[in-house]
């Protein structure tokens, strides 16, 4: 386990009678890409708003353990929360110039450098004429002003086309690996998040259901062996007598074995020994999406 950059302790956020967050504790490692997974209204944005100081928790604390103090923490974080916060009547350069002025950055070529990272260098038109994808990219460039150590991105790939999603994903990986920026990303596009994140937290109804690393997620995900055969009833009894318990039939010609010790070779051997003819055999791994659905539906 690496060194922690930030942790939250039992965060609670109440809005009149509703609890947006209910005892949320997460632990973000330094240098991680931390994926916050949850459906709309699960509490992702509220958690991010509290971490970056835009909202106050009703209870609980944010502990920036990787920073000298709160001042140092707020100086070194940047966030894109909800929609991109940009002045529509300004162009990309002027939007970044505003933040440079606020942060006292007066380095020649600095703004161009940030715009180049997101592929918007030289774009002269006003933000009001941008597509949503361009706005998202500009918002990321804006967040990079000040060279933050910790970046919070709330649904950063919303509205992006497939090519832009790949570009932005590569950008996150580059920022993380080359610049050493720790990134907290929330998204409901789980497969995309799974491609970049090294740590995950699954949040639902204001509570963290599970916090795990990518490796843990891979081991937690179940593997199933699917067999296509001529006699599923015979196959089922043969496998049961061999000690497999999680067996279900799928139609008249398929059988699924969900036991953790199920592997293609042993199942194949058992069925051949019983002279059951096999049409097909293979495995199906549970992805992050299945795991998330299984976890959240169990809670429901």
């Amino acid at each position: 386990m690496g060194e922690y950059l930030l942790e939250t302790n039992n965060l609670v956020k109440a809005y009149s009678k509703d609890l947006a967050l209910n005892g949320v504790s997460i632990h973000i490692e330094k240098g991680a890409i931390y994926g916050l997974i949850g459906r709309n209204g699960a509490g992702k944005t509220t958690l991010m708003r509290i971490i970056c100081g835009l909202a106050r928790p009703t209870e609980g604390t944010v502990n920036p353990i990787g920073f000298a103090n709160n001042k140092d923490f707020y100086k070194n974080i940047s966030a894109v929360i909800e929609s991109p916060a940009l002045y529509p009547y300004l162009n990309a350069y002027d939007n970044l110039k505003l933040k440079c002025l606020a942060y006292g950055i007066d380095r020649p070529g600095y703004i161009e450098e940030k715009l180049k990272i997101v592929g918007l260098n030289g774009v002269k038109k006003k933000v009001s004429q941008y597509s949503l994808g361009m706005k998202q990219r500009l918002a990321i460039a804006l967040a990079l002003v000040g060279d933050p150590e910790f970046l919070l991105l709330d649904e950063p790939i919303n509205g992006l086309d497939p090519q832009a999603i790949v570009e932005v994903r590569n950008l996150f990986e580059r920022l993380n690996k080359e610049n050493g920026i720790t990134i907290l990303i929330s998204s409901h596009i789980l497969e995309e998040l799974a491609k970049v994140a090294t740590q995950f937290a699954i949040i639902d109804k204001g509570q963290i259901l599970e916090e795990l690393t990518r490796e843990e997620l891979l081991t937690k995900g179940t593997n199933e062996v699917i067999v296509g055969c001529s006699d599923v009833d015979l196959a089922e009894s043969a496998l049961k007598s061999s000690g497999f318990t999680s067996i279900r039939k799928e139609g008249k010609e398929s059988i699924v074995i969900g036991d953790s010790n199920a592997d293609v070779a042993s199942i194949n051997k058992i069925l051949i020994e019983k002279s059951i003819s096999i049409n097909s055999i293979g495995t199906k791994s549970e992805g992050i999406e299945d795991y998330y659905l299984r976890l959240t539906s169990r809670k429901v």
Binding site: L54, K71, Y74, L86, Y87, Y89
Partner: protein, 295 residues
Amino acid sequence: MYFNFLRMELFRLLKRKSTFIILGVLLALTIFTNWFYCSVNIGMTVQTGDAIEEYDQAFEAGYDAGTQMVDPEEDYQMFGRGLGMYGNASVSELYNYNSSSGNVILLLAIWVALFIGDIYLSSSQKVYLNSNANKGAWIGAKYTVVALYTTAMNLLLWPMVLLSSALFCGDVKLSFDFNFFVYFLVINFLCIAFSVIIAALNDITRKRVPGLVIGIILSQGIVSLLFAVLDILARVIKLDLGEFQIASLSIANRLAVFNLSTPSKDFCWGVTVGAIYIAISLFFVVLTAKKKDVV
């Protein structure tokens, strides 16, 4: 941090088209106002001699003779608002007429609501306000820029008045006396107080529209009317206010009645009223920033 935010807000001020459009509209309104005052004879007239007798007879008979446009060659006593008819108005007097017309505060209401409301429309506060230190510095910077633009508007009104009076008001005197200097300082302070109220409305509601609508209403003296009604009510219920008028609590009212010969105690009262409004507005802005989450 404050000076960084100040530079940021000044940059944003100069990048906004409305900053310059509002000044253009002020120039147009100033030209129109001075043309109106100096070239169009709309003076209320009270007829003398036989005409007065006829007027009185008509009035007694139950008819309101009303106001009539009359031939200036005839024997009339004129109470004109048109300074041009005197032919020797000073730029300072014309400045006073323009200031009291309410054009400046109307345009200020619109500009302030656009400038401050912009922050909430674009949600850009989310980019900067992650700590209380930032909030304080940004509030300070925003209100400094609002005060600077208000002062710039009042200062630029002077050359606008000079230009338009040169065009329409004939023999115009340039005079820089102490009274005008004091008058300028007082009305500029009141205008700043007015701008701060509008900006505070935007900051407290965190929307553009309430500041814009209420600002326009306030600039049109509707609140002065309300205060005047309260004045009457106070007298009806025999509340002893002495010489105090509730209407004197209205900034628009103070701007409308102040002139170059206003007694200094009235100026002092005006400044006090403005300072109280500024203090209350800023108190609620800071309270909102401290108590409420950033949206």
